[in-house]
């Protein structure tokens, strides 16, 4: 073997070569040697390159024409015929292309160097085997057949859509031939796109336009959606079976347009009904269908929100008066919330937009101020609900249960606009729990405060936290006080403990206190403690809250000993009876110095529990009552808690609390405005209002007129001024 040019006979060599090529493209694989090309192209005295190019080109023309004729012989079997011949041809060509590497190089060189070869027409330009072969296939096989091919493919696919069996692999082969034949690097897939994809998409569109319109005319939306889902799923699959991957998304988009977008309004119109009926499957399907198109689920969001709002208000209506009690109210809200949360989870893939719609609905239910029985009371009711959970009771809830309930309460809490109102009530309830020692556990209390802090920030819970600190500090003070007494040998003759509570942190100041004479038995402990405390913390002033204090008395009736748990007021009256058996009402007033409201209430509680007796025949405690010590007192229990009627007080207290919230609000507003203006110096009205709302959002939602009033107030006080010659700007005045 030599690489030197040798003298050859072209015709002989070509004949030899042609036979081998025929075997290869006919898929009777054969060995072929690239050496022949070398010999032909470098032959002496004349290289036969040009001749070779012409012959190879003619070879492919002849071969493909023959194949086409073969296909047409069985026209009824057009697609399989085309497919099988293409596969063979494509594979053979690929092999040839590889083997004839030298030829390919030569062809490329010839073209680029513009050598002597003069093509008889443009199509005869020398080109690599693959390019040439595909070109010839396009010219002699695809072009003449394309109309028939396309028609057959489309009708096969329609058969498939109608549920008939078809040979998908044949279709895929034909379709892929178009992809392969579009080998123009400048316009990739050009043949596939123009000759196949465009008509195919058009056909798909009109198919579903027709089918969808017909189906929706005969079926309800529920059935239609099932069908739509099936259509879309199968079309997805069909695309994968028959098309080039570049077409998948276009097909589905078109189907969505015809199946979903075209009928969206009819589908959306059913949303409210499905929510009403809690038709989860339908909702899921609707969501998944509508989610495919832009803005598709928007009407669902609106419907969902309206539905939840209406359901909430209706439920509150149904509760009627019970809606003003914490437990039914909060429970109803929690049930409603978890139901719709569940719908969002199961049917709506936890879609954030739907969660936002639910939030919006709950905000309007909870902060509703117009319609419902509980209008504007949500913060108070929720705080009271927390109190019920956190107060020791005979309900026997486990710690875990309580904590879980509190977690749920936080969900509702987040929706409350009047978070400051909640805070006021919560701190009142907390104060009572702590002072009376009825808190269920420190852990539960701190957990709740941590949760509140997480939602509203550090400031929101500072006072609550300080109340806890006071409790701990008080414990220490009691301890050191007792040590101080035993070291200095100061007996008190009674057990004595106190809580020292900072005025600012505890919501105890608002109620007007009655004057009160401390019973002589307690006087010593009070004086000594005051002296002790004054020495330890000079400059602090102690203010005794007798109306919140209580004491246990031991009393002996006959042989039976009782322990009476009483308030300081009750104790003060009872202790008088160590001296006399009978006191008139006015004597008691003089001795205790209590005002009439408190004295009457206290005396009545002692009469009710039968420790004191009214004059025979007297019905109620009046200012002329005579109150006698009941020597014959007896009770099954030995530990007796003397209860006082407190009901009437709470309503008044709630009004008080609301009022103090309002006072606080205007302070917070003014402070916020000043703070903002101080840092911004000049601000437009709308910007200021926006910033104020943002700053205060964790506390309350200020009404615009309220903000404006505050701004006006600050202008009047010369903290702000309107910028000259503008109508909507403010300056901060340092």
């Amino acid at each position: 073997m030599t690489l030197k040019p040798v003298s050859i006979n072209f015709d002989d060599k070509w004949r030899e070569l042609r036979q081998q090529m025929e075997l290869i493209v006919g898929e009777q694989s054969s060995e072929v040697s690239g050496m022949i090309f070398h010999e032909v192209c470098t032959a002496r005295p004349t290289p036969f390159a040009d001749k070779l190019f012409r012959e190879v080109s003619a070879f492919f023309s002849r071969h493909v024409t023959a194949l086409r004729e073969g296909i047409l012989e069985q026209e009824s079997n057009l697609l399989p015929g085309y497919a099988s011949r293409w596969s063979t041809f494509d594979a053979g060509t690929g092999y040839l292309h590889m083997v004839f590497e030298f030829y390919n190089k030569l062809a490329t060189k010839h073209t680029t160097s513009g050598a002597s070869f003069q093509p008889d027409d443009g199509s005869n330009t020398p080109m690599p085997i693959m390019t040439l072969a595909y070109k010839r296939w396009r010219e002699h096989c695809f072009e003449p057949l394309k109309t028939r091919l396309l028609h057959n493919i489309l009708s096969e696919i329609e058969k498939d859509r109608n549920g008939e069996d078809i040979n998908s692999s044949v279709i895929l082969t034909v379709v892929n031939s178009l992809v392969t034949l579009s080998n123009d690097p400048k316009a990739p897939l050009d043949l596939y796109k123009t000759q196949f994809e465009a008509p195919f998409l058009q056909g798909t569109s009109s198919y579903y336009r027709r089918e969808a319109a017909a189906y929706i005319a005969d079926h309800d939306i529920s059935a239609y959606m099932r069908k739509a889902e099936a259509w879309l799923d199968s079309e997805q699959l069909r695309a994968r079976k028959h098309l080039d991957s570049s077409s998948y998304s276009s097909v589905i988009k078109l189907c969505e347009a015809e199946i979903v977008t075209a009928h969206r309004e009819k589908i959306q119109a059913e949303c409210t009904r499905f929510i009403d009926q809690d038709a989860r499957e339908d909702l899921t399907r609707m969501y998944h269908l509508l989610r495919r198109i832009p803005g598709g689920i928007d009407p669902m969001l609106v419907a969902f929100e309206q539905n939840v709002t209406a359901a909430g208000l209706k439920e509150i209506e149904r509760l009627s008066d019970a809606a003003q009690k914490p437990e039914p109210y909060v429970d109803a809200l929690l049930v409603l919330h978890s139901k719709h949360n569940d719908i969002i989870r199961t049917s709506f893939d936890n879609d954030n937009q739907l969660i936002a719609a639910l939030d919006k609905a709950f905000r309007s239910i909870i902060n509703d101020t117009a319609k419902s029985k509980s209008a504007g009371k949500a913060p108070e009711l929720l705080a009271a609900f927390c109190d019920q959970l956190l107060k020791k009771s005979n309900k026997n809830q486990s710690e875990a249960e309580i904590e879980e309930k509190l977690q749920q309460v936080i969900k509702i809490f987040k929706y409350i606009e009047g978070k400051d109102i909640f805070q006021k009530f919560y701190s009142k309830f907390l104060a009572k729990r702590l002072i009376h020692g009825v808190s269920v556990s420190d852990e539960a209390e701190s957990m709740m405060i941590a949760e509140l802090k997480a939602v509203c920030g550090y400031d929101y819970t500072t006072k609550l936290q300080r109340m806890f600190t006071d409790m701990t500090v008080s414990e220490d003070i009691n301890k050191t006080f007792n040590e101080f007494r035993s070291n200095n040998d100061i007996p008190l003759n009674i057990e004595f403990s106190m809580l020292v509570l900072q005025t600012g942190a505890w919501p105890l100041g608002s109620a007007v206190q009655s004057p009160f004479n401390i019973p002589a038995e307690l006087e010593k402990s009070v004086t000594i403690f005051e002296a002790f405390y004054g020495k330890k913390y000079s400059g602090r002033k102690l203010n005794w809250l007798h109306h919140l204090s209580k004491g246990d008395l031991r009393a002996t009736y006959g042989s039976k000993r009782y322990e009476l748990q009483s308030t300081n007021y009750q104790m003060a009256i009872l202790l008088q009876y160590n001296n006399e058996d009978v006191y008139s009402y006015s004597q008691l007033r003089q001795l205790t110095n209590l005002n009439d409201a408190d004295l009457k209430k206290t005396v009545k509680s002692l009469v009710d529990v039968k420790l004191l007796n009214l004059d025979s025949g007297a019905e109620d405690v009046t200012e002329s009552s005579l109150l006698k010590y009941n020597r014959a007192f007896s009770n099954k229990r030995t530990k007796i808690k003397i209860t006082t009627a407190v009901q009437a007080e709470t309503k008044e207290e709630s009004v008080q609390t609301h009022k103090s919230v309002n006072d606080d609000r205007s302070l917070y507003l003014q402070a916020a405005i000043v703070r903002i203006m101080k840092s911004r110096k000049t601000l437009s009205h709308n910007q200021l209002v926006q910033e104020v709302i943002v700053q205060l959002s964790s506390r309350f939602q200020p009404a615009i007129p309220m903000i404006k009033k505050s701004i006006e107030g600050l202008i009047d006080k010369a903290y702000l001024e309107r910028v000259e010659n503008t109508l909507d700007k403010y300056n901060y005045l340092a």
């Binding site: 007129p705 006006e712 009047d716 109508l727």
Partner: protein, 248 residues
């Protein structure tokens, strides 16, 4: 009258001017601070207050001599020209400095100067100054705000001619007893509001920075319109300066 006889000569001259004799000689004489002071003292002596200011009685007499109603726009313009600190009083320095600035030392000269003075105060830029001045001038001693009835009367006096819609605002104030005083910011905003609104209030923007009082006013207008009531009732007469001056 007994006291007047004891006044020095200059005062007698001023008194002569004031008693509507309209001496031509006096009118054409150049401004004299002495004449001006005498002129002041003439009225001051009628109702002097303890710090030597001309009191309400003197001012009233002055207005009568000038043939002006005490509550006329012209008097307000005079007070503004004198930069008077409070209603019903003029101090000697206010009077002399102010009158000097317009070169007047007699009623007759002032009468002649007045139409131009008033016309000047009606030009847009100047008028806002007059309006602003009116607020602090009309406040009672030690008060930050104007009593609403006083404010209402002044609003009508100042604005009825150029902004007739002010009368519906005045009516609104009359019907809103909860609004007891008008503060400075409200006072200035009323003027800007009335100037920037079209008569039907169609360009009212509830998100704008107007004081709440003006939002309430717009609400009130809306309600009235819904109830078919007239938007405002024009008051009798323009209540202005020109009418009264024509008496002369």
């Amino acid at each position: 009258p007994g006291r007047r006889a004891q006044q020095p000569r200059a005062t007698a001259a001023a008194a002569a001017a004031a008693s509507r004799k309209k001496s031509r000689v006096d009118d054409d004489a150049p401004f004299s601070e002495a004449t001006c002071t005498a002129w002041f003292e003439h009225y001051m002596s009628i109702d002097p207050d303890e710090s030597g200011k001309m009191g309400p009685g003197g001012v009233e007499q002055f207005c009568a001599d000038m043939e002006l109603a005490a509550d006329s726009l012209a008097v307000l313009v005079i007070a503004w020209t004198l930069e008077a600190a409070s209603m019903g009083y003029f101090s000697s320095s206010e009077w002399v400095t102010g009158m000097k600035s317009i070169q007047c030392d007699s009623n007759a000269k002032l009468k002649r100067a007045l139409p131009a003075l008033v016309a000047d105060s009606m030009t847009p830029g100047r008028f806002r100054e007059l309006y602003k001045f009116t607020f602090q001038f009309a406040r009672s001693d030690g008060q930050k705000s104007l009593q609403t009835p006083v404010a209402a009367a002044l609003l009508h006096l100042l604005l009825a001619e150029q902004l007739p819609a002010i009368d519906s605002f005045v009516e609104f104030l009359n019907e809103t007893p909860s609004c007891k005083v008008i503060n400075r910011d409200q006072w200035m905003s009323i003027y800007d509001f009335m100037n920037s609104m079209d008569p039907e209030l169609t360009n009212y923007d509830e998100t704008a920075a107007w004081p709440v009082l003006l939002d309430e006013f717009t609400e009130w207008i809306k309600e009235r319109r819904a109830a078919g009531l007239p938007l405002y009732t024009p008051q009798n007469g323009a209540g202005g300066y020109s009418e009264r001056m024509s008496v002369e």
